[in-house]
Amino acid sequence: MSYLSHLQCSDCGRIYDAQVIQTFCPDCQSPLLARYDLVTARQELDRDAFTRRQTGMWRWHELLPVHNPVNMLTLGEGDAPLLHLPRLEQELGLTNLYVKEEGQNPTGSFKARGLSSAISKARELGITKVVIPTAGNAGGAMAAYAARGGLQAYIFMPKDTPQANIEESRIAGATVILINGLISEAAGMAGEKARVEGWFDVSTFKEPYRAEGKKIMGYEIAEAFGWELPDVLIYPTGGGTGLVGMWKAFDELETLGWLKNSKRPRLVAIQAEGCAPFVRAFEKGSPFCDFWLNAHTIAAGLRVPKSFADQLVLRDLVQSNGTALSVSDSDILKSQRHLASIEGIFAAPEGAATLAGLEKLVQDGWVKSDEKIILFNTGTGLKYLKEAISPQPSIVI
């Protein structure tokens, strides 16, 4: 049974019914967040029982928004490994460096978490047609979960999206519309089609439940570190759902009384130099982002000129005493090769960007050598073979 009780506007605080279809706050046009009866949950749930359950995101089903188990669409998402990085640690002069290897999720990225949650809830609410704008991986994930749940999927993606994302969406039965533009333009078109055709728009934060799947990364990290949170989370930030979701998870864990202490990690948003609206806003101290003009980067997931949840992301960065920084595409590619060659992890460009960011943070002394630091590799590099250039020529015999 889910302890979901209601939805709440993240800005004006207005309460909304979670038993009916909702999008975002019609009053102030801000994202809605799912709220749970955590007071009752605290009395009734045994934290350590979750650890004994079968692995996967849905083992936390009481703290996810779906009520009926029949509607919990799973492909085995969640519980992506938290891998120690001993060789990188040594090289960077650190002692507690890890990567959350989200590329091992179904469809090869962390998007599986959010879309498993959102499409499951959409199904529970009786929705049959869903639409999403995507830079790539979210489209593939939505197509897979929609297929699993018998929903019809419509996907708007830039025409230069990695081929793997296009093909995985098509083979799962989704209708793919390639557009001559970025995800922001895809979002405009998807929103318009949703309005005209009556499709449900699953854009980042334009519905409340993708963040719920992503938040489980926060629960898993707390559990993995014995219910004491690490010091620094370094996260590639496009729309920012994962950052907001994890910060929400830490709030929930505190209310549930499951954490050993009140220590919170510092959040670091990593962006690409060619599209860094959060970095610019954070540096200016602005509560929202300006639309980033002429966005460009090889990290398709970071090519988001303005997130619908910009105010939430910036608020969480500030609250956590965190920071935001950008890295160049050449540093992303260098880090991608390095992570693969030194630790055997073939990261997506977005995930590799976190290593490039960490190197800067180490140089600047922003992280201390004994701090527990987690990088997030949000997807497998196997979907980005065109971008990844190996320095090693193949041997042909």
Partner: protein, 125 residues
């Protein structure tokens, strides 16, 4: 005296949302439903800030911004224009700024951001 904000927008739902939010903040709201009417209202009322939808039924928002700036009166050269669009076409933001808009906002319009953007355009901000 309250600052006058003109919103040129054909969608009545969007106009109503912005009207309510601006009036709640103490602004005087003026509305126009197409580009030509919008230009007429700019000339008649000289609003302090113009909110301009791009996808209008007659002339588009780029043309409205261009005509206003081409008027070359001190007022029309400097009145702040905030483009507000659904961002459905490639390069909307870049085109809006090139046409003479000062700022670009994408829909849905976050009300807190709208207040901040409008207030930043006003004297003394």
């Amino acid at each position: 005296m309250a600052y006058k904000i003109l919103y040129i927008e054909d969608n009545p739902d969007n106009r109503l949302l912005v009207k309510r939010s601006l009036e709640a903040r103490g602004f005087l709201f003026l509305g126009a439903t197409n580009g030509v009417e919008g230009i007429d209202m700019v000339e008649a009322h000289q609003p302090d800030v113009i909110l301009l939808d791009i996808n209008l039924p007659d002339i588009d928002g780029y043309e409205v911004a261009k005509r206003l700036r081409d008027n070359r009166t001190p007022y029309s050269l400097y009145v702040p224009i905030i483009a507000v669009t659904a961002n459905a076409l490639k390069g909307d933001a870049e085109k809006a700024l090139a046409a003479g808009c000062n700022i670009y906002m994408s829909k849905p319009i976050n009300i807190r951001e709208l207040w901040a953007r409008v207030e930043a355009c006003l004297p003394g901000s």
